[in-house]
Structure formats: C-alpha cells, structure tokens
C-alpha cells in the first residue's frame, strides 16, 4: 500500500543554500524508508512537482544521515521582486502529500 511521504519521513524541510539555490532535505528513520524514498523521488518526479527542468535540479543521497538532498536552481533570486519566500523555508509543500 502506498503511504504519504509526510507520514513517515522524519524531516521534510526546505531552505536557501545561498540566494540562487534552494535545498530540500528529506530525512528518514530507517534504511528501508530511505531506500523507498530514494526510489520514489526520481528526477522526473521532482521536476514535475516543482515545474522545473531536469538540468535545474540535483538529487543527492546522503546515507550517513538517512537523507535525500534535492538542490533546485531558484527561478527568482532570493529577495528579488516576485520572490515568494526570501529564506526558502516553505518550499517543501509540494512533496508533503506525495504517495510512495
């Protein structure tokens, strides 16, 4: 049965990594959940959730912390006109409801 990522990931957070990049970290409790998360969060899938191109994103598994890091190029530089989130702290929403 598929489960919502938000129900079992320990942490799902977003934050700027400098003003031009956004980084989303998903941390899991167990190795199994980490592997499950990694198989679900494919570049195509993440692009679809964020409306971006494959070239604009990078997915980095970090097993030491049972974590997956997603790095997105910002469409608008932090704090420039039209930016919605200067610190980038609320850009994890599109991942919360996904089923894996």
């Amino acid at each position: 049965m598929k489960r919502s990522l938000a129900d079992f990931a320990k942490i799902i957070r977003s934050k700027n990594a400098g003003p031009t990049l956004l980084t989303i970290d998903i941390l899991f409790n167990t190795d199994e959940e980490f592997v499950l998360g990694l198989s679900s969060l494919t570049p195509n899938f993440v692009c679809q959730r964020y409306g971006c191109e494959i070239a604009d994103l990078e997915i980095i598994p970090y097993q030491t912390a049972l974590a997956i890091k997603i790095v997105l190029r910002r469409k608008i530089i932090a704090g420039s006109p039209g930016d919605r989130d200067v610190y980038g702290s609320q850009q994890h929403g599109p991942l919360l409801g996904i089923l894996v």
Partner: protein
C-alpha cells in the same frame, strides 16, 4: 601578552584537549545567558560567534541596515566580551552587522568600543575588512575569473549598478590578526566557519576536521534534538572532537549532527573554503552518551589557487505594495485571468512604461508554485500586489490604478457588482522602500595567495589604556 601568546604558552605546559565555545550563530538576536555561562564555566580556550548571513536578502547588503536589533547586538556583545576577558581567551566574530560591508562593520565596532569605555575593558582589537573593489571584479569578469554560483548573470552594466561587493574572508585573515596580537577580532563578511576553525588549525589539529567542527558549531545548538540557539562546546582531542550543547535539555546525537551537515548546504559532502575544501565522505559520528557525539574522519583537500565567494547587490527602483482580499468564488475561480486582463488595461492607462507588477494569490499559490491548482478552491484569497517603479510615487500610482480597475472589473459570471476587493486598510497602497536584487553571488579566482592579504586588510587598535 596577547590572547594567542597566552594560549600557546598554556598549551606548551599542558597540550591537552582544546575547547572551543560557540556563543552564537546570529550574534545580536539574543544569546541564552544560562547556557553561555555554563559554557564559560567549562573554561574554553576560544570563544567564537557568527553574526551575519546572505539569507535576509539583498537590502541589507545594499544599504546600511543591520538585521539584528541594536539593543540585542549591544547586550550580546557585552556578554561575549566579558566572557572572553574573564578567561583571557581570544574572541572571534565573523560577518559583523549581517551583510558585513564596511558600513555594517563600523556600526558593530562603534557598539563594541562604547561597551569597552563604559565597562573599562582593555584589549587589542583586530579588524578585518571585506569590501571588494569594483575594479577587481571587473578585471576578473573580463578575464573569466568569475564563476556564478547557481543561476545569476553578471555583466559590466549590472556590475556598475552594484552598490557594494563583499568577499567572504577565510581563516587566513583571522590568523593574521591573531599573529598581530589581536585579543578580539571583528570581521566584516567572513566564511561562517572561519572564526571557529582558525585556532584549531593554527595549533596543528587536522584542517579538514577543524572545518567540519566549525560547520557544526557555527549554528550553536541547531544540530541537537531539540535544536536551539544555546551555546555549544566542541572539545578537540587529537584527530577527533566532541560536541555538546550547553543546554542540558538539548541532545546532540549522531543522526542529528550528521543531518546538520546538510543544512543550508548544496553539497553534503564538501565544505568549501577559500584555501581548499573539507571532504566529509568518511566522516564518522559516534555517540559518547545521550547528549554528546564524537566526530572524526573529515579530510582536507588544499586548493591550488584561492577562490573567494563574493556577494553584491544593486538597486532596481522603489517598491510599493497593495493589500486586498476576496471572498467570491466566481472571482477566485478566475483570479489569474482577471489579474492578467486588468494588468493589460493598466498598461494602456499609465503614461510611463518602466514598471513591473507581481501578484501573489495567497490561498492558491502565494507561498510556492504548486504543480496543480488546489483540489478544492479556498473560500477566501488574499492578494499581495507588488509594484517596482522608478520612485515610490510612480509605484503607488500604478498600484492605485490597478486597484481601481480591479475593484470594478466586469469579468464573465460576475454577480457582485459592488466591487471585487476587500481592503483591510486604507489607503491600501503602502510604500515598501527601495527594491534590490543580488547582482553578484560568484566565486572569484585569485592568481596567488598574497592577493588575499590585500583583499582582506587587517588593522589592530588598542582599546582602553593598555600598556
């Protein structure tokens, strides 16, 4: 005897573990006193703090604004100064005044000197300046020595418009200041890690491990469960270090500390410094007990040439905002289309063309760009309308015109002909100051190491009647 000489002498007699106390990751936002005092009781050999960031946005860099409230900058500074003076240990603070240009650094120096006079403190102050000249950046741009970090374009024109440029000072300038006899060092823009890593590195602890320690320590207890802003202590012993929060309720665990390596980083495996990078691929995190973690294994890869991170911001114009809400499902269903049509009308009415309009539809996609519309439309939405124009009058004029056209716009299916908008305040147009953007967020390659000395000049001042 300077703080460094005292430390060297002490370690000659007793070369045991080295303790570094991180007082704050954001000096000026309030240092929890009890935890800091507990840190002082553990007799650290170094006290360090970070004070700035690029996160609050370009306005701070382009103007003289400081994000932290001055009252708290003063009380935090007083706390760390007295702590360092009481123990006779070096105090190192990076990125003074948020953005760390000269104007911000000078505000912090003024506060520091006032405290020294009021409290009759005596010490040698080391000052590191971080402003980078436009000429150097232009020269580097022409000679292709600039590398953008992420999507940011710089050309000669946007460089000219850039108000101020700062570079992130690494460990080198701090080392120079210490060797010149500084007891207290205040730096303009600096790498977050530099004030924490420099002394362990100078004392011969492995550089990669020192930088890893600094990366964890620079956010104080944020790496704990629960995370917080309380002082954090690192104890260096040989090739490893142990971290411990000075708040007993905060637990550093192997997972919480490893997870912190990800925080605000685009790469969890490397920490980049001007003179090389720390590689965390073989980093080990071991629990000592339920509150302390022992960390080892980071390696250091020295760079062939120095690379410094530079930041610049430029003005775009003036900003005004207009606040309005709507609770009519007929409008909410079509709000994007309605807004686009009204903007077209406004384009024809305004007698000047240099303006831009950004509308955020809170309730639909005000916070983030969702890939699909909400399953159920909200019963209310809030519109935050932002206009950038040459000056505040023009920006407000555009918004007032837009507001009036939107208020009475006749869209298909409209039933509420009394007006399309609810204004929470009047006038609904507000002056929001000047608008800026980051124009530079680049890596600048230098030809040789001696260039660093000119880029980050160090000066020493005697504070109080020191003999």
């Amino acid at each position: 005897m300077s703080a460094l000489e005292r430390l060297l002498k002490l370690r000659e007699q007793n070369p045991g573990p080295l303790r570094i106390l991180s007082a704050s990751g954001q000096l000026g936002f309030g240092i929890p006193k009890k935890s800091f005092e507990r840190g002082i009781k553990s007799k650290p050999h170094v006290i360090a703090a970070d004070m700035g960031s690029v996160d609050p946005g370009p306005t701070y860099l382009a103007t003289d604004k400081i994000a932290a409230p001055e009252v708290l900058v003063r009380s935090d500074m007083r706390l760390v100064l007295h702590g360092a003076q009481q123990l006779g240990v070096p105090l190192l603070i990076g990125s003074a005044g948020t953005a760390g240009a000269d104007v911000h650094l000078d505000v912090v120096l003024k506060i520091l000197k006032e405290i020294a006079v009021e409290d009759k403190l005596h010490f040698k102050l080391g000052i590191i300046r971080s402003v980078i000249s436009h000429d150097l950046v232009e020269h580097s741009l022409v000679n292709q020595k600039l590398k953008p970090i992420g999507p940011i374009d710089l050309d000669e024109n946007t460089l000219k418009q850039t108000e101020v440029i700062v570079g992130q000072a690494g460990m080198g300038p701090f080392e120079r200041a210490l060797k010149l006899g500084a007891d207290v060092i205040i730096a303009g823009r600096a790498c977050d890690t530099a004030p924490f890593a420099v002394i362990p590195k100078m004392l011969g602890f492995p550089t990669g491990v020192a930088v890893h320690m600094a990366k964890i320590l620079e956010c104080t207890s944020l790496c704990c469960e629960p995370g917080g802003r309380d002082a954090m202590l690192a104890t260096f012993d040989g090739d490893s270090f142990t971290v411990e929060s000075m708040n007993e309720a905060m637990h550093a665990t192997p997972t919480s500390v490893a997870a912190h390596a990800l925080y605000e980083q685009s790469d969890p495996y490397f920490i980049h410094e001007p003179d090389g990078r720390a590689c965390l691929k073989h980093a080990k995190y071991e629990a000592i007990d339920e509150r302390r973690v022992k960390i080892s294994g980071a390696t250091w890869q020295a760079a062939d040439k120095p690379w410094i991170k530079i930041e610049g911001a430029r003005k775009l114009g003036s900003r005004a905002v207009m606040l309005a809400g709507n609770a009519d499902i007929n409008f909410i269903k079509q709000s994007k289309n309605i807004i686009n049509k009204v903007e077209e009308v406004v384009r024809e009415l305004i007698p000047f063309s240099e303006w831009s309009l950004n509308i955020r539809h809170y309730g639909i996609d005000g916070v983030t760009e969702w890939p699909e519309p909400p399953v159920n439309l909200p019963r209310e939405i809030f519109l935050l309308c932002e206009c950038i124009a040459e000056n505040s009058e023009k920006a407000k004029l555009v918004l007032a015109t837009f507001r009036q056209q939107l208020l009475h716009f006749g869209f298909p299916g409209r039933s509420a002909t009394g007006g399309n908008l609810a204004f929470p305040i009047t006038p609904p147009e507000l002056d929001a100051g000047e608008a800026f953007t980051f124009s530079i967020y680049h890596l600048l390659e230098l030809d040789d190491w001696s260039a660093l000395e000119q880029l980050f000049p160090v000066t020493i001042e005697k504070i109080g009647d020191q003999t």
